[in-house]
Amino acid sequence: MVFVIAKEVKRNLFLLEIKPVSSKQPMKCMPCPPDGGVWPCISLREELIWGAPKREMLTSWSQSIPIGGPPLGTAPLICVALAPEVGDHESLAFGGFSLFQMVEDLAVFILGLDLALVREALGKAGKIGISVYCGGQGGDQGTRALVSNLYGATIANKTNTRYTMNSPEGARALELLKDLEKKGYIDAGLSIAAADELQLFAQQQIASTICWGTSNALNYATDAFTQVSVPFPSNDSVPSLEYLVNGFCVFDNKDAGRAEAAKKLIQFICDDPEWGKVNVVKTGAFPVRSSFGDLYPGNPEYALLASWTKYYGGYYNTMPGFAAMRTEWWNMLQYVFTGDKTVAKALADYDVNSTPSSNNS
């Protein structure tokens, strides 16, 4: 467990101070890559001699942490904590989050897992680590991904016939979040939804967001800080990511000719060798077919994100009762954080109310 402060003493030169929990290590100076590009994080991490994070996660993260990029005085604060090998209760929460914000001219890398240090560092900077927003329905997939990933809970069963968060894994994750919120390590966003959280992130009030996507990356593109994407934390270091199938539908308006015409248009948009690719790129998405190849050549961020498609989890958006489940979800989080219901009771009620029935679609 280490706590690393990196101060950019001059352009492309960082002074790293390593602070293990128990003792203070001597200062280290590490030059950035001469091309000003991406720091080879693996070697950085080896240098820092820390635990034994999952190699697979390290590899993916190593591609996404630009260290040498920002000019002097604008280096971002980055907090990256790894999913722990052992299931340490508190250390798990920040595993996998990237927290990066400006703190004057200080770039702080928190590579360890000690939440007290994370909290202290962020608190000094007047920042909030993460907010588990639950003030509304918007962006609820982010909080579901957070809760489900922590201890391997699932949103729905494999046959997509029942919502399954009411499980020991789900309860454990919610207990953890509730506990962390109580201790002040995370924020319960009872009055905000995802759009507000993203705004706060863009305003650098919140150090990380759990509702990030390629469209957000474009909308909130800024020189003020560096965007770093990391998978959701999980105790097994294998994230299960939510995704959205951007598809088309054809209305059955009792006119076969029109339906055929609509299908032809859709086929063109999707299958045309030229315009099919343009369509995917314009939406900032990834193709469902491999034949389109790499649509974002020379873009390491998109290459990294494309590599995460292997982590896609189940798709439950078309399940019966989806609308009811969504309404119940953020209200369930509110019950947990306000303490109006115990985790067990909140989950049980969520389970009953979101169970598909004739009453909900």
Binding site: G136, S191, I192, Q205, A323, N331, S361
Partner: protein
């Protein structure tokens, strides 16, 4: 030749022509009213007896109405709505009357300035007003927290819209600011229209200011008060936009109102029949309140 003449001295033939033209002028509005008010109302009442969802339409009698009284979220929303009405109606009425009394006899410039200030939130529109309030109440960077923390009133930032104890009061505060504009303007007009000779006579007779108010002004502005009370009651019962834009009914349904819960059922859960049952019940409650207000306030009102 005898030509039929009516009491207004117009021949029946011409009167019929006048009537026809009058009805033709009314026709567009009648069609609009029928299409967008009467028919939807009838459809709402009709479908409230059906299990009407996106995928089905089955008659279920009074089941929707029975479910309403067993649904804790609806009952919570009902009680929240009731609190909003009970707090906001007297507050808006009394404050508007107080402001109106203070400024109605000032110079035209002063009266207009105050009218403009208080009416501004009404003409600004709900969404921009709510956005500004949302910034004010913001937990992280809101000006209210900033001021209170710096004054030492509170130690750390409060999620005004995220705490059960404060959220409904924030809603009431915003509702108050957006509701007082029209009543103040009405009260200023009503007070200015009181016959000055009556007031002068009271003054000559030695009546105190308080007595003049209660025995002359108050009865004179009773029709305005009735209007303000009824309209504020209806608006308070139908409080929706503030909730939708600020709290989504939360936290834990502490700010959910009937209108908001109706919206959730209709447009998030697609339970149109159940939502319509709520609408019918709300209309009945508003109707009952209005009748009660007419009955209790109308006495002594001379139109």
């Amino acid at each position: 030749m005898h030509s039929a003449i009516n009491k207004h001295g117009v021949s029946h033939a011409i009167q019929r022509q006048i009537d026809r033209v009058s009805y033709l002028f009314l026709l567009p509005m009648v069609l609009f009213f029928l299409s967008f008010v009467i028919i939807p109302m009838a459809m709402g009442i009709f479908t409230s007896f059906f299990d009407y969802t996106m995928g089905g339409f089955h008659f279920n009698g009074l089941d929707n109405y029975i479910e309403l009284f067993k649904d804790p979220k609806f009952l919570r929303s009902f009680s929240n709505t009731f609190i909003i009405v009970v707090v906001s109606v007297p507050a808006v009425t009394i404050f508007s009357l107080w402001v109106g009394s203070l400024i109605y006899d000032k110079s035209a410039w002063v009266t207009s300035a105050f009218r403009g200030i208080f009416y501004l939130p009404v003409v600004t529109g709900t969404v921009p007003v709510v956005v500004v309030w949302k910034w004010i109440f913001d937990k992280y960077a809101g000006v209210l927290n900033y001021v209170l923390v710096n004054l030492g009133v509170i130690e750390k930032n409060i999620a005004w819209l995220g705490e059960r104890s404060t959220a409904i009061w924030c809603i009431l505060a915003i509702l108050f600011t957006t509701s007082i504009g029209q009543p103040i303007v009405l009260y200023i007009s009503a007070l200015a229209n009181i016959d000055s000779s009556v007031l002068e006579a009271a003054k000559v007779d030695g009546a105190s200011g308080l007595r003049t108010f209660w025995q002359i002004k108050w009865p004179s502005i009773m029709p305005t008060t009735l209007y303000v009370v009824v309209i504020t009651t209806i608006n308070s019962f139908q409080c929706f936009a503030l909730i939708q834009l600020l709290t989504s009914g939360g936290p834990v349904y502490s700010t959910s109102t009937i209108m908001y819960y109706l919206y959730v059922n209709a447009f998030s859960l697609y339970r149109y029949g159940y939502a319509n049952a709520m609408g019918v019940l709300l209309a009945l409650v508003i109707g009952a309140f209005s009748i009660l207000q007419f009955a209790s306030i109308k006495s002594g009102v001379d139109y």
